[in-house]
Symmetry: C2
Subunit: 141 residues, 2 copies
Amino acid sequence: MDENPIAPMSDDEAWEVLRQHEFGRLAFHLLDEVHIVPINYAVDANKRIIFRTAEGSKLLGMAMNSDVAFEIDQYDEETALSVIARGRAVTLEGSAAYVADDLPLRPWVPTAKFNVVAIEVSEISGRRFHLDKPWTHMHLN
Amino acid sequence: MDENPIAPMSDDEAWEVLRQHEFGRLAFHLLDEVHIVPINYAVDANKRIIFRTAEGSKLLGMAMNSDVAFEIDQYDEETALSVIARGRAVTLEGSAAYVADDLPLRPWVPTAKFNVVAIEVSEISGRRFHLDKPWTHMHLN
């Protein structure tokens, strides 16, 4: 195959794809370690990635080091896409946290999550992939 | 709902789920930053997560700081699962890299990736979720 199987998205397209999804993965520092967790999120009018979280290592880690990365992806047999954002996580206090109430921020798991966090995005990149999975057409005995 | 919507997996079950998948996300340090990328992977006989990568920021970052985290997930309308592993990334050199040839390590995107990396896992945790998405049954006009 001579075509490049990877096509970058424009920033606008990457944001549009982020807005169309509600499930991604957050990578954050916890002291010297890197951690990763799946989260539900929504994008607000200021292009911030908003999510809710309970007290715990995620909130503690981000309070000590606000540098975070976030990823979503989607794939089928022939194509895939991925959007990656990096930025700074800020816990929203007081009325600033009300932004979450106006978003389609729908936690899939109904556990108590009282803290609202915004990722202020400094870098975003999206890519589309043409997949090459010949083995899905093979039937091995 | 009174039942706990989150059920932890045993370590054995978490490994079994890892073996059944081939696509996940790697979080790694790059200098002071945390980064995240989607990768194809396979689990070897020594319970290491093996993947191929080209030269680049991922390889550079892991060479400078081997601490990494890895995540897979899967979901449908009613259930979800997630497995998270943490450990140390080691680039396999010489004959040690041949391990990749005996694994079902199938990159979905056919770009050149000459380096073989093993994550030596120090912590693994898996969880199953019962989802509560009432809005998927709503039809709003």
